[in-house]
Symmetry: none
Amino acid sequence: KKMLESVNTSVTKHQFEETVSSASQGFALDSAAIADDLSCRLCGSTFRNRSEAFLHACRQCPRLPEVTSAKGHLIEGLAARLHELAENQKPQRHQQRQQPSQHISQSQYMHSRVILSRDEERDADSGHIVDDEETTSDGKKVRVRSHIREEQLIVLRAHYAINPQPKKEELLTIAEKIGFPVRAVQVWFQNARARDRREGRSIT
Amino acid sequence: KKMLESVNTSVTKHQFEETVSSASQGFALDSAAIADDLSCRLCGSTFRNRSEAFLHACRQCPRLPEVTSAKGHLIEGLAARLHELAENQKPQRHQQRQQPSQHISQSQYMHSRVILSRDEERDADSGHIVDDEETTSDGKKVRVRSHIREEQLIVLRAHYAINPQPKKEELLTIAEKIGFPVRAVQVWFQNARARDRREGRSIT
DNA sequence: TCCTAATCAGACGTAAACAG
DNA sequence: CTGTTTACGTCTGATTAGGA
């Protein structure tokens, strides 16, 4: 019998990721390229699960080459320049939230939050690109609150009325429809359910 | 009998080390190191399937060390190759019915998602990729959990009701019918039996 | 300050992996 | 194959924190 009880060192997800990211510093490009919402920080596409995301980041992302080579430069010490790139790369959008004022901790890390120009030509008519990247700049989490606007809310509510517990696939559809990361949509549904439950309404 | 105290959420040592070590050592190289014919570009050995090949490239290839140190140079060349691979990678062993049945059967690592047009019109069917691959990607042992959808589950259950212990041949039939790897179907039956047994039901 | 999006910790179900 | 464990994916309920 091999009971487990062995390695249950309860490491929280947070700690875990923290450690991973610090332990692997510049080398964990693949995982670092994946945002919490399972979207690729490089090309923006999102995925249904972590596996897919990793797969993508490891070998499918069309932007992989640029980044990996960029990483080479990074290692040589051009971290600063890259940072600039990343900064300047924040054009567009009326309500651009401004940078979390330079919170580069200890020395210049070569962190792969290379959000270089993502071509903004996506999708002619759904013009709002709501890409959010909440970076984990070397372990530091920046919580980015996405703003859901009325029109998007309407869509969400409509879907919610029909089915308050959409499966991943439906979430994906909705996410795409309103131009939000899947994760955000998922969270919205979770919170909506919580709200309703709290107020005694039953979820269908 | 019931002896598991629920340890989810906590990260096991295994997982932890796995992730750390893999994170610190590999990126796209492994996959790029595999030739079209499933042979290792480094040591030349060939493999029966992609999974094995990846495993090799990630972990086992004797020449791995030299490569990882030199990967900076290799990347460029290999990265290019990667894309070719992606293109040519249209594995279709099974019957490729182009049915509107929303799921694609086996399918593999890279396809459509690479080319990925953001704005695909979603008419009646959005050909989502619902697949599975049990790969050991880039040293990241990502256990891929295949998602069985309702409709597939129905088929499985139907077969299970008739015969909970299908032979290899029957498994194959079922697998093909729902577009799943045989192994996954087999596992499902095993788990189903286990579940039933656990709950006291007898298996016919 | 309030409303609520995001996060955390924990629990559950189950596909996959492992031991025998 | 069975019995058991591991780990992925998702959910809840409580909490934290962003912005009007």
